[in-house]
């Protein structure tokens, strides 16, 4: 079992710089998720750590050993590719036996191989497919075979590249739960890469948000969700995206259009006020000062199964919220409340400045 340490990783493809200096410190056993949009450099990061990218700079240490210049077959990493990369002319069984036969993952007698393969495939639920070829498998089965090839052999680090991205929604949700179980039980340091924030939040001990080859924020899921370092991170997590409303600050108070005012952590300037749609709640009692309350008219109501996505016009400002309260109708009036510490204030160019607070001059019922 090994730790993974990456310092100043720069990766190039020809003239383009794909990674601009990535730093990661993963203690042994950590399940770390890199979240980022396509093209951010997620696969490049994994491949650089695996030794598959030619033009790299910086230091990669696996289990404490410096991997500079070391070939992929000597690094002790196992990788599941987004495209699965299963050997087409080999059966599932032979695909999984391949790493055991190479000689670099220990010596395995044929019985030992068969036994190990049986263990892994039973866990993954594909033990009945051993004699099939990849072209005869469904996407989900291929994905689990690719995972099997990773799990079957000893490795210091697992590298998983968007394993769930080609599965349909239901399968994805089911596999998410399975992966979490597998991750906890195997105890191997894992670097998992995805563009799906739900996977990131569900699976990661820590999350790193990657944007255009740079890690913008690293932290626990709670940290990244509650204290996004900028609007990019804030919008990367959560569906629908966080509402970002322009506001003018004067005298420490940020005024959002004609809609409402919040106390801001800065004295003057332009800021963006951020509120997650799910943090807004429909209330019908008298407004309290413990929370920010917004009054508006429902412009659009999209029913999505159990929840409803509402587009609410608050004095000219559009706010999206999600609720399971179906009583609200289009055209009706509604009051939305959100806790003060769930209201974020960002600078005009995106950096987070802090949480909002009650604006001065309002009768308070207690400190925050």
């Amino acid at each position: 079992m090994g730790s993974l340490s990456v310092k100043g990783l720069v990766a190039r493809y020809g003239k383009t710089v794909a990674l601009h200096g990535i730093d990661l410190e993963l203690p042994d056993g950590e399940f770390f998720v890199i979240l980022g949009p396509s093209g951010a450099g997620k696969t490049t990061t994994l491949k650089s750590i695996a030794g598959l990218v030619d033009q790299v700079e910086g230091e990669v240490r696996i289990a404490g050993r410096d991997m500079t210049g070391v070939e992929p077959y000597d690094r002790g990493v196992a990788m599941a590719f987004e495209s699965y990369a299963l050997y087409p002319q080999k059966t599932v069984e032979e695909n999984l036996a391949s790493p055991l036969r190479s000689g670099r993952n220990g010596t395995w007698t044929p019985q030992q191989q068969a036994e190990r393969i049986k263990q892994v495939t039973t866990t993954l639920g594909i033990d009945h497919l051993l004699k099939r070829f990849p072209r005869e498998l469904s996407n989900g089965q291929r994905q689990r075979t690719a995972l099997g090839r990773v799990l079957v052999r000893p490795a210091e680090v697992y590298l998983l590249d968007e394993p769930l991205s080609h599965l349909d929604a239901k399968l994805r949700a089911a596999m998410r739960a399975e992966l979490k179980q597998l991750g906890e039980l195997s105890g191997t340091t894992t670097l998992y890469v995805t563009h799906d924030y739900q996977e990131a939040l569900a699976l990661g001990d820590r999350i790193g948000v990657l944007r255009e080859g740079r890690l913008v924020q690293v932290g626990t899921p709670a940290q990244v969700w509650n204290e996004p370092v900028d609007t990019f991170v804030a919008r990367a997590l959560g569906q629908p995206e966080m509402n970002l409303l322009d506001a003018e600050v004067s005298g420490g108070e940020a005024r959002v259009g004609k809609a409402f005012t919040v106390g801001a952590p800065v004295a003057d300037g332009r800021v963006q006020v951020g509120i997650r749609p799910r943090d807004l709640e429909i209330v019908d009692q008298a407004p309290s000062t413990e929370r920010l309350v917004l009054h508006g008219k429902v412009v659009l109501a999209e029913r999505l199964g159990r929840s409803v996505e509402l587009s609410v016009d608050v004095a000219g400002v559009q706010i999206i919220t999600v609720t399971s309260d179906h009583r609200v109708q289009e055209g009706g009036d509604v009051a939305l409340a959100v806790d003060w510490d769930r209201v974020h204030v960002f600078s005009a160019d995106g950096a987070r400045l802090g949480a909002a607070r009650r604006p001065e001059g309002v009768l308070t019922g207690g400190a925050r």
Partner: protein
């Protein structure tokens, strides 16, 4: 071949398609008639070859004669020896081209290293270069170093024909091959060489077969190189056939026809077996079907 999917506006047996069939029929009559004629001619006896056209009694004698010493006596062409020479030369040339060409095609297809395009286009230029430009100096050189009229000499020269084909076709196959399969093999613990042999080579096996067989065909059909660079000892069939009529004395049209058919058979059979890959091969990888 399954029923062809109809394009928009097409009906299966419309007047247009019948008309198309008729015009095509005209082409195929033109295309196949000479071949049919050759077969007929080859089946005629010496007397009939000049006295009849379509009505005659067929005989297979000519084929036997061509291949026997009797034929050699009549026409001063040792045809069986020529066949053997063709086989040795072409198989040898293809093997050499494969051994040299596969690594080069892999290097050019997998990495775009500096100079790879120059190397590829230089190889391609051999395809279009006039053969005599190389033959004249080779004629002199071969005579000097004793490669004139030898199998080795021909195998070397045939590289001009076989290597461009093999390298360009295989490069196209290697380019199409996803890199991640080899990367997975590397991470499984295999060295690059083993990963190549285990993963890449099997994937391009059909391409290798197609390229090799197509190269064989073109090497077999080559005429101008052996015409000039071989003498009487090691001539291949293409030259041998042309000698059938020049023997002075009696003209053996029927024997010539029989010899021509024998000479043309191997490439035809090979072509029929690689029909699927022909387009990609003939266009050097430019057109994929």
């Amino acid at each position: 071949m399954a029923a062809r999917e109809l394009g928009p506006g097409q009906r299966r047996f419309s007047p247009a398609s019948i008309g198309a069939d008729l015009v095509l029929l005209a082409w195929f009559v033109f295309s196949l008639f000479p071949l049919v004629w050759m077969v007929l001619l080859a089946l005629k006896t010496d007397a009939e070859q000049i006295s009849t056209y379509f009505a005659f009694t067929p005989t297979l004698e000519n084929f036997a004669t061509v291949l026997s010493s009797e034929g050699e006596r009549l026409t001063s062409v040792d045809f069986t020896d020529a066949l053997l020479t063709s086989v040795i030369n072409c198989v040898g040339a293809v093997i050499v081209s494969l051994v040299i060409g596969i690594p080069a095609a892999y290097a050019a297809g997998r990495w775009k290293y500096r100079g790879s395009n120059d190397v590829m286009f230089t190889i391609l230029s051999f395809r279009f270069a006039p053969e005599l430009m190389v033959i004249v100096p080779l004629f002199v050189i071969y005579n000097q170093i004793g490669l004139f009229d030898t199998n080795v000499g021909m195998i070397w020269v045939l590289q001009l024909v076989t290597m461009p084909l093999i390298v360009w076709i295989l490069r196209s196959y290697f380019q199409d091959m996803p890199a991640e399969l080899e990367q997975a093999a590397l991470l499984d613990g295999y060295t690059r060489k083993r990963a190549f042999l285990m993963v890449a080579l099997p994937l391009v096996r059909p391409g290798i077969a197609a390229a090799a067989l197509l190269a064989f065909i073109f090497a077999w059909n080559n005429y101008v190189f052996p015409l000039i660079l071989t003498g009487s000892q090691n001539t291949p069939v293409t030259v041998a056939v042309t000698r059938f009529l020049g023997g002075g004395g009696q003209a053996y049209y029927n024997l010539t026809a029989a010899a021509a058919i024998i000479a043309a058979l191997p490439p035809l059979l090979v072509a029929l077996s690689i029909q699927r890959y022909l387009v990609r091969g003939l266009s050097f990888g430019a057109v994929k079907s």
